[in-house]
């Protein structure tokens, strides 16, 4: 399943973003050897400060298995400001109906040896379909995505070959990177869905994920109070409100340490 996290709802999903930054550190620094800034085991750059949207794949226990970061091409984005090498010094594409996708990755460790939905191939397709469907609903026609040659081969094998490339393949560290073009058309979406066997709505309701991330209250707690506390936590509008609601629940259930996960971010 997928979740879209952006500036409007990120206060509810701090723990998920934190896991995503850790996945990015493992992939882009450890495995691909890109020159990225890793601090405290988390890879975060300037573009994360520009209110991007993240499309994130989650497994059945709401653990992060893959992610991508989306920015408009009309404003600051990586191809205009960082990936000069790929574009050979040329200015990037700029269009209201083209988004840029960067930091596209899936968790090969978590998914290796998995079955069904827990495979690299399924998760890659699911992430691509999620990006295309979210973008399409926003009126976006095409995605320009910065990927490595291995990901490019996976796309070709998944009936999702890019329809074109911009610039050239550039050295980024241990591996190369290139900018590929993907259209967000119904035709491509259904092809990739058919290839991977993806059915129905793949976006998880925000409420469901927020509720699942909230620490479980003490079993002995009064059911009405339990419901009340869960509502307080899931309807919090800021990280501070959420933390306060969790702290209150912990105080009431006498489990002062069980909520640590929510404070990670």
């Amino acid at each position: 399943m997928l979740l879209v996290v952006d500036a409007l709802n990120k206060h509810r999903f701090g723990a998920i973003l934190d896991e995503m930054y850790q996945l990015r550190a493992r992939v882009f620094q450890d495995r691909m050897g890109w020159d990225v800034n890793v601090h405290n085991g988390r890879e975060i750059d300037l573009f994360d400060g520009l209110d991007p949207a993240y499309v994130i794949t989650l497994n059945d226990s709401y653990g992060v298995t893959g992610c991508a970061r989306l920015l408009q091409t009309t404003g600051p984005h990586m191809l205009s400001d960082v990936f000069f090498d790929i574009l050979d010094g040329e200015p990037p594409l700029r269009s209201a109906t083209v988004w840029e996708s960067t930091r596209f990755c899936v968790d090969r460790q978590r998914l290796s040896g998995g079955h069904g939905k827990n495979t690299v191939s399924y998760t890659t397709s699911e992430l691509m379909v999620g990006i295309m469907e979210y973008a399409k609903s926003a009126g976006i026609a095409d995605i320009i995505t910065v990927i490595d040659p291995l990901m490019d081969r996976i796309l070709h094998r998944s009936d999702n070959a890019p329809y074109g490339y911009v610039g050239k393949t550039a050295d980024m560290g241990k591996v190369k990177a290139l900018a590929a073009l993907i259209d967000c058309s119904d035709q491509r979406i259904s092809k990739v869905r058919a290839f991977a066997g993806i059915d129905g709505d793949i976006f998880a309701p925000e409420e469901e994920v927020a509720a699942a991330l909230a620490p479980t209250p003490d079993a002995a707690m009064n059911p009405e109070l339990k419901t009340y506390m869960r509502d307080q936590i899931t309807s919090a509008e800021t990280e501070r409100e959420r933390a306060a609601a969790i702290a209150l629940q912990n105080a009431l259930s006498g489990a002062a340490t069980s909520g640590s996960r929510a404070f990670d971010a």
């Binding site: 500036a7 409007l8 209110d51 991007p52 404003g75 600051p76 594409l93 209201a96 926003a138």
Partner: protein
């Protein structure tokens, strides 16, 4: 981001009345929407531009109550990359204060705000509204959203370029590929011809033309070719 402490109503400028408000009205007429508004901040000049097709009574009330300081369609929506359906802003504390009053003025409650990010940290917001029922609104939204995106960026770039400094900084920078493709189009080649000549897909040709068009602030390819010629980027076919 610059707080919306003061707003410059472009509708009150001679150019604004004829160009910008008319452009918004045309957007509404073409797409079947009721009202449209635009607001932007320019971090270079520090100016906030705004104009709208809303009735004057609501404009005066809105400014008088300083709603622009709490209006979630300005504050929250500008931080999204996707257009924000106002349904998503209902939880925002500012929503009730603004929309409750808007109802008294018989203004539509359904709407969409398209955030635009420009290259210099400038942001623009195009909001459109409709008084359709929710299911009809969702249908209309799906039909027009791509056009609204393109129009929002075109409008934003036009407003930003109307300021001299931004105009100089923001001159279109076309890539060698974009110039090459536009030159072939100027020579009368079809997109399929150009794709064959350059051995790339038709969609790659199309996405480059779309990008050139928008960089040149043009809504049609013919207009883009004309502007590229006048800027000396290509030679007339």
């Amino acid at each position: 981001m610059t707080p919306y402490t003061s707003l410059i109503d472009l509708a009150k400028t001679p150019k604004g009345q004829t160009d910008f408000v008319q452009q918004l009205s045309a957007v509404c007429d073409t797409l079947g929407l009721d009202y449209a508004s635009y607001a932007s901040t320019n971090p270079i000049s520090g100016k906030v531009h705004a104009f709208t097709t809303y009735p004057d009574a609501w404009k005066e009330h809105y400014m008088g109550e300083r709603f622009h300081l709490v209006d979630p369609t300005l504050k929250a929506a500008s931080r999204s990359i996707a257009p924000v359906d106002w349904q998503r802003l209902r939880q925002d504390p500012g929503f009730q204060s603004v929309f409750h009053r808007a109802r008294d003025f018989s203004l539509p409650q359904s709407g969409l705000t398209v955030p635009v990010r420009g290259p210099f940290g400038d942001t623009g917001l195009l909001s459109v509204t409709s008084d359709l029922t929710t299911p009809d609104w969702i249908k209309l939204k799906g039909q027009v959203i791509q056009q609204v995106q393109t129009l929002a960026v075109n409008l934003h770039d036009t407003v930003m370029h109307s300021e001299r400094l931004s105009y100089l900084l923001g001159r279109a920078t076309l890539s060698a590929r974009e110039v090459e493709i536009l030159q072939w189009i100027a020579a009368g080649k079809s997109q399929q011809d150009v794709a064959d000549i350059l051995s790339i897909s038709v969609r790659t040709v199309e996405v480059h033309i779309r990008s050139s068009r928008e960089k040149l602030c043009a809504l049609t390819t013919a207009q883009a070719v004309g502007r590229a010629v006048s800027l000396g980027l290509i030679t007339p076919g």
